[in-house]
Amino acid sequence: MTETVSNSAKQDLLTAGDISDRQLDTMMSRMMSREIDRGELFFQCRRNESWALEQGIVKSAGFSVSRGIGARAISGEKSGFAYADDIQLDVLEQTSSAARSIARVGSSQNTNVPVKRQIPQFYEGIDPIVSISKDEKVKLLSRIDKFARSLDPRVKEVSVSINANHESTYIYSSDGTDHGDVRPLVRFGVSVVVEQNGRRENGNCGGGGRHDLSWLYENETAEKFAREAVRQALVNLDAVDAPAGPMPVVLGPGWPGVLLHEAVGHGLEGDFNRKGTSTFSNRIGERVASPLCTIVDDATIPNRRGSLTIDDEGTPGQRTVLIENGVLKGYMQDKMNATLMGVTSTGNGRRESYAHQPLPRMTNTFMLAGNSDPEEIVKSVERGVFAKTFGGGQVDITSGQFVFSATEAYLIENGKITVPVKGATLIGNGPEIMTRVSMVGNDLELDLGVGVCGKEGQGVPVGVGQPTLKIDQITVGGTQA
């Protein structure tokens, strides 16, 4: 089936610009007439439709199309890159000439033979934009608005959004890569403001993945997001000031896995390690986390937000073990960094669009389940914080420092979850914090499908996940010193 999807993506993209296979070959030969290691042409068309309800009215909606070509020439550690927003032969010629300008005069040794092989597919090549009609989208938004308001009289504002994305890509490279992919991606979100005695708080919940929009109607999925957003906001109405300083923290399952994304994920991307700028550089085989930790990056989970049938360099998506029982096993690689480090790509070469160069990026990154009962984990803490919901995070891969910000958290006193505390940022050093993971729950959950990871100005959809886990000591950034 993949062959069909791959071919249809290729045909759609090339036909629009009236470009033949032979012309592609000619273009690639011209690019390779210079001394470069690899030439690559990336074709993409992405269509997106979004609808938003605010203050009871579906007041705005938009449709966008972004279509173009990115051409890249790689010579050792150097890359020449050019892109254009038009898929046409003359543009393709200019773009590929510009890209090869980094190369020395001379000609490339190009010996690779295209190998066609069957690639497993981790989502269907559907167009989610048309999976439900415009009218149905408007009705759904209004229904969820009313539903959220009906949950509690303290709900004052409700915003609801639906986003559907359809992306066709085709990659043609001098190393024999000749693959296309069709990627659906949807996202639904609810955000509310509640008010009580003049105090206002907000709550957000959303989800999505690489599937169509009918999922919103199954098992009251859309209503569940609304219920969760309202619940979070109401909890925060009673939140007291958060404590400040180092203490034990228990993280809930699912989205709090943003911890792993920041604390270890970025630091294990191939580019930083090739350059030796990561705190994890040259540490394969070393203990970098507690033996309770096994962390993987997995592009192969069906229909997940971060899943990839092929990455943006045409390498099939795969599952890569990053840390196994606390020992560093491997990095995430794109082709360029893999070649320079003498390994093979792990299918992590990703780019935001044709206008960006591929970088080693995460897909779905999570920690495998352990043996502890989540209740026992909380019971083991005398005084600390239980953090259930998070916003985003950030890391400095060189020093290893990372932060992530809790949006729903509670005090733990004498082994019991007591009062909610205000949102606070947690900060730590990746390798140090990972060695302080002292209990891992048996309740692995993946997040609901909302993550966007930013690196060098490029955003790509990712997934995270983890079981409940306990960190013996991490700094909590509240106001109560």
Binding site: D85, K275, Q401
Partner: protein, 458 residues
């Protein structure tokens, strides 16, 4: 212009914009407006852009990346009465124009009526278009950019033996042309340019590695910090972060270094913006004529400074910008409003649909060493991490690193800290301001001292 490595003349010549491009882009916009009108739109507005760029990254003395970019596209909003639809595309061919307009019109059949929606009020549209001198584009020359980046990098690497390696230096030029038109008859285009230089280096000691960067930008190369200055600053900052020592968790004065003070000012501008006001999701709800910062401070916009990065004669809806106070002596004077958020609040657009223009922090300033003396003992924050700023509740909690000050002088590096407080208290407790003002950025401020925040440390 040719070297053995980069053979630009033969392969790729990146041109810049000419005045003709403004006319072409304006004509393109009016053609799209025509298509929208004949398709049944009762009103429409279009923004079209054409950006050309060249970016060269050097790493360890050699080319890392040469990137040529060309971005074209347009964004259209159509109205069917009080219903609104939007579309955007990077595809500028005739059939793509039709497709985008049709998509926007189809959406406007399904969105719901919103009595506040619509184009800007006609009497607020800009009628004067002063020459703001925004286009001073440097040539798109790979060699020049390469040399600037290389000099910045080598200066940093040679600065001190503690500089372990470079993570690259980057020089860029961009040439932009943008046109905006609406069915009220407004149509205007202008060109602008920018040049920038950036160096990112890593220092190393037995206690680990630290990274720091320095960035400079302007309309043209001659306005930038020199490559030597950029390299020196990046190296100094990286070394200053080495060997952090612990401090106890507690309440301390916190100085926001000029590079992070801009972000601090952005939060209050966000809280005074129209959308959070009408959604009642800002801690500064209904705050006009109320005190929102220290009375020592005014925040004022100057949209017409020739060549400045934030200068513009009109916002993204064609509404004329104006010189005005947002905050005057601590008191909120104006919200930042678009036509829509203005109507929602029963007010008029303030010409801020695309943000502020050369927002200037006006106050008594002191040389930085004097500010540190006034602080005596406390934290200087040079970098912040994470998103822990809640505009609705006004709670602030972010990751921070920088250096510790004892007796008004640098003592040692600190990292892995959080700083937390209420935004309202932070702005009211701004007690001293450095004269290290960066005038080449849209937010013009120097370092800012806040008298008291909670600092958490390991």
């Amino acid at each position: 212009m040719t070297t053995s490595l980069v053979d630009v003349n033969e392969d790729a010549v990146q041109t810049v914009h000419t005045p003709d491009d403004e006319a072409t882009l304006s004509e393109f916009v009016s053609r799209i407006l025509e298509v929208a009108k004949s398709g049944g739109a009762t009103a429409a507005e279009v923004t079209a852009g054409d950006d050309i760029g060249l970016d060269v990254k050097m790493r360890e003395g050699d080319i890392d990346t040469v990137e040529f970019s060309r971005d074209r596209g347009f964004d259209i909003t159509v109205y069917r009465g009080k219903r609104r639809g939007n579309a955007s595309t990077t595809d500028t061919r005739e059939d793509a124009i039709q497709e985008a307009v049709n998509s926007a019109l189809a959406i406007a059949e399904h969105t719901e009526e919103d009595s506040f929606s619509g184009l800007a009020d006609p009497d607020l549209l800009a009628v004067d278009f002063p020459d703001l001198d925004l286009y001073r584009c440097d040539p798109m020359d790979v060699e020049q950019l390469k040399e600037a980046a290389q000099t910045a990098e080598s200066t940093a690497l040679d600065f001190d033996e503690k500089i372990y390696q470079s993570d690259g230096a980057r020089a860029s030029v961009s040439s932009n042309c943008v046109a905006y038109g609406n069915s009220l008859g407004f149509l205007h285009a202008y060109r602008s340019s920018s040049s920038s230089l950036y160096a990112d280096v890593i220092a190393k000691s037995s206690n680990g590695m630290q990274r720091a960067a320095w960035f400079t930008m302007g309309r043209q190369r001659s306005e930038l910090d020199t490559p030597e200055f950029v390299g020196t600053k990046a190296a100094e900052h990286a070394i200053r972060k080495l060997d952090p020592r612990p401090i106890p968790t507690g309440e301390y004065p916190v100085l926001f270094d000029q590079t992070v003070a801009m972000g601090l000012i952005l939060h209050i501008l966000n809280a005074l913006s129209g959308r959070p006001q009408y959604l009642r999701s800002t801690y500064l709800l209904d705050s006009l004529e109320k005190q929102v910062t220290s009375t020592e401070v005014s925040l004022k916009e100057y949209p017409f400074i020739p060549g400045a990065m934030g200068s513009r004669a009109y916002d993204s809806e064609g509404v004329a910008t104006s010189e005005k106070y947002i905050v005057e002596n601590g008191v909120a004077k104006n919200y930042l409003l678009s036509s829509y958020s203005g109507r929602k609040l029963g007010m008029q657009s303030t010409g801020n649909a695309s943000g502020v223009c050369n927002l200037t922090v006006e106050t008594q300033t002191l040389p930085l060493p004097d500010v540190l003396k006034q602080m005596d003992r406390g934290l200087v924050v040079t970098s912040l991490m994470g998103q822990g700023v809640n505009i609705l509740t006004g709670d602030y909690s972010r990751g921070a690193s920088g250096y510790w000050v004892e007796n008004g002088e640098y003592a040692h590096a600190v990292d892995e800290l959080t700083i937390a407080a209420k935004l309202d208290d932070m702005y009211k407790n701004m007690v001293a301001f450095g004269d290290d003002v960066e005038t080449r950025r849209n937010i013009r401020t120097g370092s800012i001292l806040i008298s008291n925040m909670t600092v958490a440390a390991l």
